[in-house]
């Protein structure tokens, strides 16, 4: 008799499964085919196409060692995930005014709905910035407002926590490149990037950790750079670059100094610049600029990475730890200036956050902004006539510039609020004769992201990347068609990686992508300076 009363497990099979099992089914990684659209030069706002991109899920990080080092759960979704989720969300709401406020004050006016490149590329309604925020706001209204707690989710348009909701978070908060374009048009400056960063950290805390982004955060902390290159590998790579430089320029004493104490400048740049293409061309450019300016400089094996993926999630500790290497190196090498190379998010962390995390920089030379951007440095030299430039070296190019979103919508450059647009353009115009801007609504503070920023550059995200690159490709096509543009100048390592893949995908030659200092490097005339 008693045995018959035993709980019927079959009957409850749905409810009894482990949360981790349920979620794994929802977010199973699949390879997805992607199709670029035919380019016309115009960016049209698509009709709503529900679920257009719901199947793109990034790969999960499963290596237990890495997860343990990062301090996240090691066995997938925790059985008690709901409590952890709410505790983490509560913590973030108390620590970040941005998140708290932005969840409160959106009026769903819709001004941002057609501003996201992922929405424009896919028509997926959940890629409208406000709809993306609503994924979090539904939870917020249910669990963190008086009315939600009193009257329940129906009354406040909230949502109970469920594995299904979690899967939606994991999908759509990894279809946002935190580019902040939506925020420009929002009457209250609501910044979806802040919400996305918070959402990702909450997902991490319950055990859904995206692979690409977090592997890099781990490598940058443990090894010192995003590519996981050991010290000797860095030295080898840079020596190789130096040999190349000497060979191609015929200048015997051009150098890429490494770990040289007492140099004037510590130069930090994304490690991709050491050998990826077209990144490396810019490295040649930097070296030539320093050489010709006669300023002693050094790279550091300790701070061998400028990029800081810690920015992409609301986890201050990761970001701080990665950034610390740069300022430790600056003190150790006793430099007077720190200059950052071409990279979007690196520049944002370096310029906007370093001073808060590791300032004051009283040990650096107060005459220069601390830290300084390579474009500020180069433009200053060009203006002072300290570089000998032969523009005809770039004769074959008609250049346009993609404003990297993290630079464009980040901080001042050159001390003025629009410097980040004018200074890089100034450098380009200083070394090329022909420059044409893309249409107004696709540049400057309204620039479109390349489509792969802030942790979406992995191959698992290719479908999203191709769709998200559409607006930029349309704009490029437009100036190509009308003005014969044949070079897309960039100042970001991720943009370079993404664009050199997207241009061929959309039918352009891959060589049309490159860094600004690639152009500078071509035009500099090396050798004794005139009058000396």
């Amino acid at each position: 008799m008693a045995e018959e009363k035993a709980p019927d497990t079959k009957h409850h099979s749905g409810a009894d499964r482990e949360p981790n099992e349920i979620i794994q089914e929802y977010i199973k990684f699949e390879k997805i085919k992607y199709y670029p659209v035919e380019l016309t030069g115009d960016i049209e706002v698509p009709k709503l196409t529900p679920d257009a991109l719901v199947m793109v899920k990034p790969q999960l990080l499963t290596s237990k060692e890495v997860l343990a080092r990062l301090g996240y759960p090691e066995n997938g979704l925790r059985p008690d995930w709901k409590e952890v989720f709410l505790a983490k969300m509560d913590e973030i709401l108390k620590k970040y005014r941005s998140v708290k406020l932005f969840l409160d004050i959106c009026v769903r006016c819709g001004a941002c709905t057609d501003k996201c490149h992922y929405y424009l590329g896919t028509g997926d309604p959940l890629n409208m910035p406000v709809a993306r925020q609503e994924l979090m706001r539904r939870v917020y209204r249910r669990y963190f407002t008086v009315q939600g707690r009193l009257f329940g989710s129906k009354f406040v348009n909230g949502e109970e926590l469920s594995e299904e909701l979690l899967a939606m978070w994991y999908t759509y908060f990894y279809q946002c490149s935190e580019c902040r374009r939506c925020s420009v048009f929002c009457p209250y400056g609501i910044d979806t990037a802040e919400i996305t960063m918070a959402a990702r950290e909450i997902l991490n805390s319950v055990g859904l950790v995206q692979k690409y982004l977090h592997e890099i955060i781990d490598k940058a902390q443990v090894i010192g750079n995003n590519l996981g290159m050991q010290q000797n590998a860095i030295v080898n790579a840079l020596e190789f670059v130096q040999d190349e430089l000497i060979e191609t320029t015929g200048v015997e004493d051009i150098r890429i100094p490494i770990d040289e104490e007492g140099a004037d400048v510590l130069f930090v740049t994304p490690s991709a610049d050491f050998f990826a293409s077209p990144h490396i061309e810019s490295l040649y450019g930097y070296a030539k600029v320093f050489h010709q300016a006669g300023i002693s400089w050094t790279m550091s094996t300790h701070a061998s990475e400028g990029g800081n993926f810690g920015l992409f999630i609301h986890n201050y500790e990761h970001m701080k730890k990665i950034n610390k290497r740069i300022w430790d190196a600056a003190r150790e090498l006793k430099v007077k200036r720190v200059i950052g190379g071409e990279c979007g998010h690196m520049w944002r962390v370096l310029s906007s956050y370093s001073n808060t995390m590791f300032g004051p920089f009283d040990y650096l030379d107060p005459k220069y902004p601390r830290p300084q951007h390579i474009c500020e440095f180069t433009l200053d030299l060009i203006k002072r006539g300290a570089l000998k430039i032969d523009k005809s070296a770039n004769e074959e190019f008609t250049v346009t510039m993609h404003d990297s979103c993290q630079v464009a919508r980040g901080l001042e450059m050159g001390g003025t609020e629009f410097g980040q647009f004018e200074i890089p353009r100034g450098v380009i115009k200083g070394v090329c004769d022909k420059f044409v801007d893309m249409p107004e609504h696709t540049i400057r503070e309204r620039t479109f992201c390349c489509g792969a920023g802030q942790g979406l550059l992995g191959d698992d995200m290719l479908a999203t990347r191709v769709k998200g690159a559409m607006p930029r490709m349309q704009a490029y096509h437009y100036v190509k068609k009308n003005n014969g543009v044949n070079f897309l100048a960039l100042i970001c390592a991720i943009c370079k990686a993404q664009m050199s893949k997207m241009l061929p995908t959309y039918g352009f030659p891959m060589e049309e992508v490159g860094g600004i200092h690639q152009l500078v490097g071509r035009a500099i005339v090396l050798g004794a300076k005139e009058g000396i």
């Binding site: 620590k95 005014r97 910044d191 808060t356 503070e445």
Partner: protein, 254 residues
């Protein structure tokens, strides 16, 4: 008759006090504890953000007074939204005449155009409602609550306009007397001893005021806090100078 009047007087007076209390306490709580006291760890101002505080002040003034950020996007929303808020402000100012004696000149100035203002406000709100319904993307993100506030405010405007016309027009001196009585510090105490202020006997007025109270009560719990929240928005209120002036993370202040 006396009994009903007493109930209305009691009810309306209590409602007004309750609404004002909930509104004021709610907004204070939001602003002070939830926005002002919550730290913002890093500087996240957003282009085009000026590099000095006066510039930031000007930018925010531009956003608040002329909806500059919104103007970069769809023009229809910008125009309708701005007209709605602007006329709302004008009508609020106009209502000062019930609270301040003698009535300031600036308030009497709109006597002639107040009807027009009300109508513009209504029309702009109709545009906002229709837009929510017709525009596919906005309809997708619109919640019932969004229609609720729009219709609530429209109802307030409609009853307000009706109040100015026969046969709904109340005895204006009675209205003024009622409001003066409510503002007097002794009235709340009298309320406790069951001697409420004397509301005008006008159904439309009671409705109008009741709806306003409902709006006030709803305010601090809803998206309407955008009105005060904007001033704390870190993408707009931070000065764009973290390189030259060190910003201290409030977390580190201990």
């Amino acid at each position: 008759m006396g009994g009903i009047k007493f109930i209305i007087d009691m009810g309306l007076s209590s409602l007004v006090y309750a609404a004002i209390f909930i509104f004021a306490a709610g907004i204070f709580y939001k602003v002070y504890f939830e926005y002002y006291k919550t730290p913002q760890p890093l500087k996240i101002p957003q282009t085009p953000q000026p590099t000095d505080s006066f510039g930031v002040f000007l930018r925010m003034a531009g956003d608040v007074l002329f909806f500059r950020s919104l103007a970069k996007g769809t023009k229809l929303l910008f125009v309708a939204g701005w007209l709605f808020h602007f006329t709302f402000l004008l009508l609020l100012i106009r209502h000062l005449r019930y609270f301040i004696y003698p009535v300031p000149g600036i308030v009497t100035m709109f006597n002639k155009v107040s009807l027009l203002i009300g109508i513009v406000m209504l029309l702009s709100m109709i545009v906002l409602v229709v837009r929510r319904f017709l525009e596919e993307r906005v309809r997708y993100v619109t919640l019932l609550a969004d229609y609720f506030v729009l219709f609530l405010i429209m109802a307030i405007v409609v009853t307000g306009i009706m109040l100015r016309h026969e046969p709904f027009r109340p005895d204006v001196t009675a209205v003024k007397a009622f409001i003066m009585e409510l503002m007097s510090p002794t009235t709340p105490l009298k309320l406790l001893t069951m001697e409420p202020a004397h509301a005008p006997t006008c159904f439309m007025f009671v409705t109008h005021l009741g709806l306003v109270c409902l709006l006030l009560i709803y305010f601090p719990f809803s998206k309407l806090v955008h009105s005060v929240g904007y001033f704390f928005s870190p993408t707009r209120n931070m000065v764009n100078n973290p390189r030259s002036v060190r910003y201290i993370n409030p977390w580190d202040k201990g």
